[in-house]
Symmetry: D2
Subunit: 383 residues, 4 copies
């Protein structure tokens, strides 16, 4: 049985809503059943129609969606709510959805502020419901392969990490025109205290902690507003001190003119290291001090259980961003199905970003911006 | 409204059936409504259940599917039948589906023999129904970009083409064990007169004719059975003479140990050339005699209308094999929807492989195998 | 003591003469002592002056160089003559040099015709002098690594080989202007029976036989003159049957607009294969059927003795075309020095192309052109 | 006439001395005439013999070399002295060479301390002699192309720069064994206040200032000793504030296990950016916000005058590390020859690193180490 999915946000023209819908659809595990696609009732209705939803499952507001779906018979009502609104509209829908008995899939960053994130964590704990936070890049098979290799001690303890997320799309003052994505992402009222650091810095941060299993303990940030007139940071670089004595560098920028979205992570222990980048997402380059580097590839027989579990096609048939995104949806579905079946989910299915990652992501945003304003070199990573 | 899809073949464990289902699901344009997933009725039933189909839409044979669906009210019955069986089971289901009033999506190569292909072409012409043949690689945005650049005369007339499809998965005698894919693909009774040339050579051939807009007129083939005991070719190389005076080389092998599926095409005119390969599918490398080579990328604003139409995510978020496959499904759906709406479909939607490509693909198989057996240098490409 | 080198050809403006001089200089093993740089005495003199040669060691003709140097005391006269003239001026200088008691370094292809090549082989055998033929690409460390891996049986017997040499510099009718390189290379009176096949096809052929240790036994060629007005082939593709039952494809073209000089070879046995290309010359990609591909690199500690011997810098500091060329000069020098010292040269030093390779290269040219003119599919490789 | 070169340091087994000799030899502009190759007189003599030097031009100490060569007739004595000793032995030989009337080629970093560097700058100014500092990476044609594009305003003012130099060769405690390179480079008495930052950080720093034309004004460094027992830094990351309001990140590490020497620089202005790395040294990737990225290549006709001037082979024949190194030697020679001829040298020849770069490099070392020890976020770049 497919899991019934309701969506909050994602009206026509929204970027991330369409991505979520494709990710949910790919593996046939979800059925988009209901939606409050816009705070504009007419727009919500039109989107619902376009998507082929039954008219009575298309709502004018998320409150209405939650209230009405709760009334429906259990076998009919949505089981999971996906929230794909801008950052300032994450907390309330998520909180209410959890308290109304729905599982939640939430776009990142988790909330508008760290305080909200911690509150949401408590709400979730009390609700008995689960939350999946869509840190897409952790869904790539070769990212999971890297994590599994690190966790197995393949490289020895990680000593150095470099993570970067260079974009170029905000090289000019895009928010001055009619670019809606640029408008809300550079608006403190909708994005929060951070621009680039919230939008893509959090992805880099999550990737680092996810793959290495280490935690940021202190940081030192250079946060910049490069484009004149911009109200939030569009560029930053951060020195990191990590648990276990490692150090790292995190770079995120939206003014690297001509760059697309080549998020990349490299890490090194005494016995070797690895290199992964989205531009060549199905390759994990593994380097050794004294023998040839290896090219590990999605879809092969020799990769670990996590990479195997998160791939769909034979080696050499590239899996991309939507497949990585779909892996989050798929693992969340498998976890919920296991719960419904009263069976334990395998570790590969349980491997999706959740509340802890969300809280730490929001802590990153607040700490990194604080460090950017500070004259002190090192800022403790406070959660 | 979603298009109602029935599937013939694709029971649990089948490779290509699962691919078709994901491709159909990705864009939310189809609803898998019915299926005859196996000639084993129980297996068909089990697959249908797993996929969440209504039990009365799961059939024990394709004949039953066609007959029963035809009986259903128009608003309910499947509109398109996807046929994902081995080659020897393409023609009959496809013929009957067309004659029963269903559109058809058919896995490649189109049929078991050229004679069947030509017959199917006639049947289709008489039926008024449409057929989409899933030559996946023609669905990649950057392949379409190459085609559009060539068609616009960007490089001048194409003079030289290299196309290759190296695989390594049949380097050993896999059909000796329990590898089902290897078993049927190396079996003349199920695969046809060709092994590698039918399985992947046809993809290379289609890619060549699709991108360059040229036709093979003569060929000279070296066809080999490399692995002892194998009953069909597992390797071949073909010299080509193309319309307009161009020449080319086509290589397809399944014994290139360690190779995955890096199908690649390069072509050159007097004013420039291009290079595309599946391993870096979102890049089209364009070379010029007297200025820097260009890296054209999926999802950017500067690519042509066909590449734009066939992409879903912003540049740098890789689209892969499933997205390319889904483009075939999507364009076919858009074409059918336009027809239903009584409107002309845009050229970008009409751009999917169909009967003509299928007939030429089968002609390639028969001509190339004939040339392989011939002592004569050049064999005319007979259709 | 440095080896005293005389040069025939290579006047100012000549391409390959300057390359030879840099290759000879790099390792400090040769001293350019004498030269007949041009058949134009004044030009020869001017070149000699520019190069800082003593005026009495600069000659107006190669005959004069050979005659006069022979007169000089043994401790003073040149020991090796490098011949860097166009193809039609290879045989006579080389023959006379050998007969006059000089070792010879000769640019490829060895001669103007196969008959000349075989004659030169006899002359050399009678002279007791050695000859080094500058098939540059065999000098790359990672090419030698590939050869050593193949020879050790790492991949099992080689079953399939692809070699290609795509260039674009003759995409237009360059010989119509003042491009001297284009002029002689497309002129049957100076280049011989072949254009592209002689200029770069021979390199590809040599690379194939050198790396795989196999010999071409039969071939089937498609030889083309693509650019109107051109007098020799500028494009070709060749199907190959190799010793031991392997097959191959050789491609060489000078009309691949925008291509530089990315000569590439791939070969596969049952247990694995390799991939080398000049554009990434310090990498040898080694593929396995069941484990990650390996990236072998120049200058590392894990490569074999031949790759070690032919490298100068630590890994990651790229060695290029001149270093590969210099390896030929260096190995020839080490061989001559060992001979002078009455000691056996190590196999790594003895590893430079010589007469046998030269004769087979000329046979390739004549056979491939003959096959191009033939209606018969397979042409036996006659030497 | 070749320039007569004397060498200080570079005895058998020394790494960088051999590199200098090959760089000097490649273009035939220098003749290695004299040497004091070791402070061990016998070792110096043996090296000189191996190199074929006249015995009376091989000296037991650099003092002897300078004194004796000064006595020789002008037409005979060395004109340039190359100093290739460890850091602590740079200043005295360089000072005395300049004061004795010799031009100097000096390995980097310029001296042992900033104070020495500034003193050497004064000495040089007073001597009328020239100094070339071998920051190799600035010799690559595509690095020069990047610099010329930046200087022409192609990208607009540079706003963000990333430069990195990852190595892995000191991942373990190499200095505990008999690795001489590791021994002196990790020894404060021979290397100076910095390890990695002096050895490779200075290269990254020089590359950044050279290519962008910007100057570091403030920095914030995280400097680490990763390998237990090591006495100098083996890892560091530095946030940079640059002239003109730009910012940057500099990374240098010697504990990135498995990394070779892939120094890389990326920079971005509002209108575009570039990317260069040593692993693909003949490519300059140029990115634009709104059109395809470009691949600029060594040896092509479309590159600028600096790239043209610093290349030797046609496009596609890779030039490597030794060629880049040789470009420094070559440009220094052309500058000296122009001076001897009383003519102005072209700007392309004058383009080699010299005293100013040396002083700033030493200032970088001292400032970056100071910042590493500081609790203050930003350290002004003091010279």
């Amino acid at each position: 049985m497919k899991i019934r999915l309701g969506m909050i946000g994602g009206g026509q023209g929204a970027y991330i809503g369409a991505i979520h819908r494709m990710a949910a659809a790919l593996d046939g595990l979800y059925e988009l059943t209901a939606g409050a696609f816009s705070s504009d009732a007419e727009k919500s209705r039109a989107t619902g129609q376009l998507l082929g939803l039954a008219p009575d499952r298309v709502y004018a507001s998320y409150q209405e969606l939650l209230a009405q779906e709760q009334q429906r018979p259990e076998a009919e009502r949505v089981q999971v709510v996906a929230i794909v609104t801008p950052n300032h509209l994450h907390f309330e829908p998520a909180r209410q959805a959890l308290e109304s008995g729905f599982h939640v899939i939430l776009d990142k960053p988790m909330t508008f502020s760290l305080a909200e994130a911690k509150q949401l964590q408590q709400v979730a704990a009390g609700s008995g419901k689960k939350l999946c936070l869509t840190h897409t890049y952790s869904g790539y098979p070769m990212v999971k392969e890297a994590r599994q290799l690190v966790a197995a001690g393949t490289f020895g303890p990680i000593r150095k990490v470099y993570v970067e997320y260079p974009q170029g799309w905000l090289s000019a003052f895009e928010e001055g025109g009619d670019n809606k994505q640029a408008a809300w992402r550079t608006d403190p009222a909708r994005s929060g205290v951070a621009g680039a650091m919230g939008d893509i810095g959090t992805h880099a941060f999550n990737l680092l902690e996810y793959v290495t299993g280490l935690q940021v303990e202190r940081l030192c940030a250079d946060i910049n507003v490069v484009v004149p007139g911009r109200r939030l940071d569009d560029d930053g670089a951060v020195l990191l001190k990590l648990s276990g004595g490692a150090s790292g560098v995190l770079v995120a920028t939206q003014v690297a003119a001509g760059e697309e979205n080549n998020v990349r992570i490299r890490a090194y222990g005494e016995r070797g290291g690895f290199d992964w980048q989205q531009a060549d997402a199905n390759t994990l380059l593994v380097r050794w001090p004294d023998r040839p580097a290896e090219i590990r590839r999605t879809g092969t027989g020799y990769v670990g259980s996590f990479a195997q579990h998160n791939a769909r096609t034979p080696a050499g048939h590239p899996e991309g961003y939507l497949e990585a995104f779909a892996n989050l949806y798929r693992n969340f579905a498998l976890t919920l199905q296991a719960e419904l079946a009263g069976q334990p989910a395998p570790p590969e299915a349980l491997d999706y970003p959740s509340l802890e990652e969300g809280v730490r992501g929001m802590a990153f945003i607040e700490n990194v911006i604080a460090s950017g304003h500070s004259d002190q070199k090192w800022t403790d990573f406070a959660v």
